[in-house]
């Protein structure tokens, strides 16, 4: 059994080792002066993005080389969770200076060890481009991408080793749980969560405290806590990063929830597509049980709590609460008819709290730092922060955490760095397949649960995919419907049949076979599916179509009436064309697989659009960029 004194002892001991990572570095590092040997921590990102581009091998090699050179007394190589700036990966940050190396390759390891660790010179060519301007080196926390963020849910990601519980404890981990089980009553815990006005980060924004109170009020011989880690929205990966980078914060929060509602069993339902997250969770649960922060008589109280992992098997609909519960019960993951709230009758018919990963990650820190602190961040109705996954046509793809109420424009152009290749912004898609596309004119909207809903989109889990002028909005709507059709569980007719019909129409339109009445049919189907579907998947399935119709109706009309795709994406509607820039090199004509290009040497060539199969070869081979599609 662990006591609070034990916890504090571990905290002190470990903190002494890792606090050099926490020193605020404001000054510019003077690279003219050689650095003396001093305790150094090399943090290597172990998130999925960096892991996929050799991050893990780089860490191993670094550790090996450091040892080989006899530097392992001073230099410690640490694996951490996601840094967030996936675009620049694999990433390495070196503390206490906060030196940020990006796009590191295996070949660079020798140079880092010899130049940086042995001789004390910063390897400038590997510095993240923004942290090395005009000969001055900026520490990582001064880089624009990080400077604008407020990290609460991601507070430990990229700072601690997720496979070492002591490092979590060093940064106040499990203090909240200790306080809760030894000093507070169940009602007090619930009141505090209610007062914080924390809202569910999984998408719908339901007040967390209110949910907990419902489960607390219903007496039952058994209650359950579930962590929904079935993050299925394409383009969203914040839950994965939290599980990979800071799994203990979720375990601690689940135990707090268990205490509050009177449950002794928790389940984490995690996607099987996230092997690293599963692996780190297994380690975390084992370490927590070993330490005694999970198990029987936690902190000497009579509170018992155990957590079990359950793996999903690739069904998007299982992110829906009741479908997820069916799946844990070992059945087909189909949503239930909601006669009762799951807080009343959930898993195996017992009162169950199901919260999203990010929601849980916010809980311990609210207990540590208080309700007033939490409410001072964000907006009045949506306090706190939200983690967003930035993807698509944007320079800094990755994960960001910002206070609620920041505008979309700041997210895209400031933190995200804008659109690459000088292309024009067209729309931002939020909320995945249940969300919608927001055009340029609404970019100054402050982001919170209500404002996005007003625009016909949703916050969702926080995926944001940016689209530029080359993306066709009809095709994007078709893409999402294709997803929904595939993932519809088939239980209710409006969703099963309705989404299929909508997809057929959208396919017709993108193939140039659209009829004028198709747009109206789409609108009427949207209304029916939204009103009559059983679960959230169906009720929001039409959102991508409704929102694109609202803001980009002209694109639909161009497809239907003029048989033209303004985004230049829909193959069947495109025609390749050679402009006056043609120098008559004959390269296109020689490479055309159907020989439909004619023209004399040094004269402008012409494409026979009747014969053209639109393969795009001519465009690829043209040395002057004279071939365009329109």
């Amino acid at each position: 059994m662990i006591t609070i004194e034990d916890l504090n002892r571990i905290k002190e001991k470990t903190l002494a080792n890792i606090n050099l990572r926490q020193q605020e570095q404001k000054e510019i590092i003077d690279d003219k002066k050689d650095m003396d040997a001093h305790p150094t921590h090399v943090l290597v990102c172990g998130g999925t993005g960096c892991h996929s581009s050799d991050g893990d091998k780089i860490r191993e090699l670094l550790a090996e080389k450091v040892k080989e050179k006899g530097l392992d007394k001073d230099v410690k190589v640490v694996l951490t969770g996601c840094f967030g700036l996936c675009e620049a990966g694999p990433n390495i940050v070196i503390y206490p200076e906060g030196i940020f190396y990006s796009h590191v390759k295996l070949e660079d390891v020798d140079e880092i060890v010899e130049e940086h660790f042995q001789k004390g010179h910063v390897v400038k060519r590997l510095l993240f481009k923004e942290s090395y301007v005009d000969g001055a080196i900026k520490p990582v926390n001064e880089v624009n991408f990080y400077k604008k963020q407020t990290r609460i849910a991601l507070r430990n990601c990229g700072l601690i080793n997720p496979e070492d519980i002591d490092e979590y404890i060093a940064l106040d981990g499990y203090q909240a749980l200790a306080k809760v089980v030894t000093e507070m009553t169940q009602q007090e815990v619930i009141d505090l969560v209610k007062a914080s006005n924390l809202r569910g980060r999984g998408g719908a924004g339901f007040p967390t405290g209110k949910k907990w109170e419902t489960a607390f009020k219903y007496p039952a011989d058994q209650k359950y806590v579930i962590c929904n880690a079935d993050e299925g929205d394409p383009g969203a990966f914040m839950d994965r990063s939290i599980l990979e980078g800071d799994p203990h914060s979720v375990l601690e929060a689940m135990a707090i929830c268990g205490y509050a509602i009177g449950a002794d069993q928790g389940y984490i339902y995690v996607r099987a597509e996230y092997p690293i997250a599963v692996h780190r969770l297994e380690i975390a649960i084992e370490q927590a049980k070993e330490k005694g922060v999970l198990g029987k008589n936690i902190f000497g109280s009579d509170f018992n709590f155990d957590i079990e992992l359950r793996l999903g098997a690739g069904a998007f609909v299982c992110g829906e609460g009741t479908a997820l519960m069916e799946s844990i019960e070992g059945k087909r993951g189909m949503p239930r008819t909601k006669i009762h709230r799951t807080a009343h009758k959930g898993l195996w018919g017992k009162p169950t709290i199901i919260n999203n990963v990010e929601t849980f990650a916010n809980i311990p820190v609210i207990f540590q730092r208080g309700v007033d602190w939490f409410k001072s961040i964000g907006t009045k109705d949506s306090p706190g922060t939200k983690v967003f996954a930035l993807g698509g046509k944007i320079k800094n793809t990755g994960l960001i955490e910002i206070p609620m109420g920041v505008t979309l424009r700041d997210i895209i152009f400031d933190i995200g760095g804008g659109i690459p290749d000088n292309k024009k912004f067209k729309a931002i898609q939020t909320g995945g397949p249940s969300g919608g596309c927001i055009p340029e004119e609404y970019l100054d909207t402050p982001v919170d649960f209500e404002s996005l809903a007003e625009l016909g989109s949703i916050m969702g889990s926080g995926g944001m995919v940016v689209m530029d002028e080359d993306n066709c909005m009809v095709d994007i709507a078709r893409f999402f419907l294709d997803f929904t059709v595939e993932e519809s569980c088939g239980k209710c007719v409006p969703c099963r049949e309705g989404t299929k019909r909508m997809l057929e129409i959208l396919e017709r339109i993108t193939e140039g076979e659209g009829a004028p009445e198709d747009i109206e049919t789409l609108e009427s189907l949207s209304e029916t599916i939204t009103t009559a579907s059983l679960c959230g998947l169906g009720q929001t399935a039409a959102n991508p179509v409704v929102s694109t119709l609202k803001y980009f109706r002209d694109e639909y009309e161009a497809h239907v009436n003029e048989k033209r795709c303004p985004g230049g994406t829909c193959q069947s509607l495109l025609e390749y064309f050679i402009t006056e820039d043609c120098i008559g090199c004959t390269k296109c004509a020689r490479n055309c697989p159907v020989s439909c290009i004619s023209g004399k040497v040094k004269e402008r060539h012409v494409i026979d659009t009747e014969k053209c199969i639109k393969c795009g070869t001519c465009m690829e081979v043209c040395p002057t960029g004279a071939v365009i599609k329109k």
Binding site: G49, G314, I328, G330, R332, V465, F479
Partner: protein
């Protein structure tokens, strides 16, 4: 294509699998875990194994079939030695994942959900892998290839041929 399950060849695996089932039998909602184990062990869920599960866990075969066909991670046909997944998440899609998928299909001569006759490659279009920073992305078993262009596909496949 018909694939038959070879009991003799899988004798050891079946033995281990039976032990796994017995250990998990008492757990609530054990079917999912058992199916995961079977999928990992045998590479797919042959009818013979489903019947075995039915007997051991006392769950009707029809129900097991229902669950096995509901989830995309479970497969009723064997997967290839190299499982190729092309991510069709939004971030990958807007960055041209469809072109990558088309190219893989063309190279291997199979479509999504199929396995090459020599059981070397199987192809699936996966949901978001969460590696959106590397879009578009393709995975071969555990190896992830990111920031792809269609012309990279052939070289990647050649590594495994």
């Amino acid at each position: 294509m018909e694939f038959t399950f070879d009991w003799e060849e899988n004798k050891e695996k079946v033995k281990d699998f039976k032990i796994f089932m017995r250990e998990n039998k008492g757990k609530k909602g054990a079917l999912m875990a058992v199916l995961h184990e079977a999928q990992d062990k045998f590479g797919y869920l042959p009818k013979e194994i489903q019947e075995l599960i039915s007997k051991e866990l006392r769950i009707p075969l029809s129900e097991i079939y229902g669950v096995a066909t509901f989830y995309s991670q479970f497969s009723l046909v064997p997967k290839g030695e190299y499982k190729i997944g092309v991510c069709l998440g939004t971030a990958c899609y807007v960055k041209g994942a469809q072109d990558i998928l088309d190219k893989v299909e063309e190279e291997l001569g199979i479509t999504v959900g199929q396995t090459t006759p020599d059981r070397k490659f199987s192809l699936s279009a996966t949901r978001c892998l969460g590696a959106c920073g590397l879009a578009p992305v393709l995975v071969v078993n555990e190896d992830v290839y990111g920031r792809l262009k269609a012309e990279d596909v052939e070289e990647i496949l050649n590594k495994y041929r």
